[in-house]
Symmetry: D2
Subunit: 263 residues, 4 copies
């Protein structure tokens, strides 16, 4: 902040900070308007030297440069429909140049919102081939964020490794409870009084990546498994869309398998 104010006469719009006393680390996010006539490029070069001196890890993001997001979807369309409606309403500041589905169900919605849809079904044995094609498309469309909008295929460790903290998933439980498949069934069996959903960055360890957002809803003995599924959809929509928005607004830092969310 000193640096910004002192040398660049920048207008600081928002500043947030977090300290992890245990790890002895300090985190900061500053949103600022560069002063007239100062090229942001110049700022980056200058700041790199300061950062090197103090051993900071840093990134500089231009708010005018929008993220390019690819949505992955299977047969359940509620998250896809929700994200697209928010996108169209201007709630998500990004471009969505393509949607990839391992089922064709999402194609209608994609067309309605005018977004190319690629149907890449995964059949026995050809997952590596499909992932190669997915990767090709992501590169072709210059994507920098993948959102798994209830995509029901597990991505390989190799795939994930190429997109560190760039793949956001929604898991339909309050992690770390009920990892793995059929979490609503497991929640029903255990007799919990609240169900949850969790959005997180995808890592090679399934359901173990840094948690971005979680929310819960009350259930009762009157709720059957289909009721849990239905109620859970509302949670999934909300926690996934928040995670995506925060990522797009550069509000998420991640370290040590955790996230810091700057309001």
């Amino acid at each position: 902040m000193n640096f910004l104010v002192a040398e660049y006469d920048a207008n600081i719009l928002h500043a947030g900070q977090h300290q992890d006393a245990e790890l002895g680390r300090f985190f900061m996010r500053i949103e600022f308007e560069p002063s007239a006539g100062l090229p942001i490029q110049h700022f980056g070069e200058r700041f790199a030297r300061v950062a090197a001196e103090f051993q900071m890890r840093w990134t500089l993001a231009e708010s005018g440069k929008r993220h390019r997001v690819c949505l992955f979807v299977s047969q359940h369309l509620h998250c896809l429909a929700d994200l697209l409606q928010r996108y169209k309403a201007g709630e998500l500041d990004c471009e969505i140049p393509l949607i990839i589905g391992n089922h064709a169900d999402g194609e209608g919605l994609a067309q309605f919102y005018g977004i190319p849809f690629h149907h890449l079904p995964v059949r026995n044995g050809d997952k590596a081939f499909v992932e190669a094609e997915q990767q090709r498309l992501l590169r072709e469309y210059d994507v920098d964020l993948v959102v798994l909008a209830r995509y029901m295929q597990i991505l390989s460790a190799e795939f994930v490794a190429q997109w560190p903290a760039q793949i956001i998933n929604v898991h339909h439980s309050f992690l770390p409870a009920f990892v793995g498949s059929k979490p609503y069934h497991a929640a029903f069996q255990r007799g919990v009084k609240l169900i949850g959903a969790t959005s997180h960055y995808v890592t090679a360890d399934l359901d173990e990546g840094p948690i971005i957002e979680q929310d819960v809803m009350r259930v009762t003995q009157g709720d059957t498994i289909p009721d849990l599924v239905r109620k859970g959809r509302d949670l999934e929509r909300v926690v996934l869309s928040r995670a995506v928005r925060w990522h797009l607004e550069h509000r998420i830092l991640h370290y040590d398998n955790k996230t810091v969310i700057f309001d």
Copy 2:
């Protein structure tokens, strides 16, 4: 209900029901005032025959007959103080004839509320002896519900077996996440965005008994482990006191390691 209305002219105050379609079981709770001159004893005998015919499991509880509750406590007194204040304010319809502590910390509060306090410290090797003394006291005081108000000793399977669905514990996590000790530390490490607390009946399987109530609270990166502990205390108070009140009001049925809560 037919039976009550038709033969006894009873005034039904409240009726709740639940069906578990999967298991093909039906659950019902009826609160009623027997008609004048009808001894409740007579009703019980009569109903036993009906129940046998239809293979019902049933209990008959007289609302005038209050539960006798023993609180177990260690060093953390927030749940104890909370339960005693609710007890004194008339929120918990029971008698609390004694409090047992493995530490002496709770003695002052016990005295203030005029309740005998028994200090039974558990030292290496004498747990069986202490449990025998606890059992003796529970029998002596005619107790029918044990509430573990943050009692930090694990009860033996033998002890638990004698009090089926009569021991209520509060676990300081959103079960089944973070079973075992130090759940707030585990929650902090995992980076969850909500912490929880769970009240449940105690069974021989630690933290695996039927869940009675759960609640959660939002946390952020700014919350240290002591903050989680402090926030969690508010959850523990609430979920434990609800569980105790519901038990006292005969609102809880349990089956298949689950509970049914009748509003």
Copy 3:
């Protein structure tokens, strides 16, 4: 229940009851399967006599006969998009034969979901004319529920009187706080720490009809009015869709300007 069991050998699927002790009224909802060969019509006739004897108000709804719902919309499409997605996903058991908008914005979504859209703009002085046309369409399409999915026109008392407990609105505040227009602005000015949304049946008294559902979300000083508007949209979607679903499933009784919701 006696009646159903005794004479008709009906299979009771679900029964809920509520008593208002103050008013001395009793409310009951029973979901049942009539026994084979018994016409539901016959049941109605028979029950009418019982009901008359005990001065009950009652209705009999056939679950196979779906509600016919008309959505009213203006420019904000988030509730419309949400309801249509739920409708298509099978979450709302009804027919939606038409959508009416005083703006044309909703037309695209209507088309996508294959539902006729009627654009009836309200200009100065012609509200009575527009309402007459709306009424004509509702009759023509045999509608029995009107859902105001953020419809920003106030319906006249005459219109409302023809649809008692058949018009559901969503108000973007936690009623009775912030009645009237611009509730998010009012909430911001007052500095509340939670914002809310309320779904209710529409009566002649604006924002005073029986409340069906409410929910809230935390806000902070960092939230601007546009942030409240955005956060509130998530609440509006949820409280409106719950209200519609409960109405469709005959879970709502209303009396004395209140609702009873049967789980």
Copy 4:
């Protein structure tokens, strides 16, 4: 922050900031450790000049200097018992040198926690006299925060004027809904689906002061007015104790009848 770092080699423990873009105001809270050998007094003098230059309003609070808090109470003791238990458990970093009650009910708890209790009943006509005595006691005990722990007397505008942003009250509704007396009755009549509680600074306008914290809880048609009162007590405890803790930790700024809460 520049100033702190540059001249004083202070260790910044936590920094929070808020901007009100509409009003063009900037708010900041910095928690810091002064460097060895630097008297905090010196810092204050030095900072006063900086603040004057930039027209800042500021305060400097020494964390070692504890607030001195007086609790006012009437007959309902749940908030009193809760605050005292938190106080004893070390959750509230303050001194509580006295408790004032217009009823004697709180005396036992005061004695248990070893705090002088002053019984100052308010009878017809002598409110001015009682308030004078309250003021005398507050001065005598060097109090700087008054907490109305369900104190059921309205303080005069003259009294309030002497303690700006130094009196915290808990109102048993989700303000601005249900101002005035008997809010649970009003909530019941209106048929709301959630009840709330609000802690706020007291101003001359009853129930209109800056809101500090709010929370809500779900209610159903099955909840009678006594149920709402009971459920509400849990909300009152929580929102009041949070407000008190935040005040004690200098986390609350207030302006324009709003509060800014620094996490």
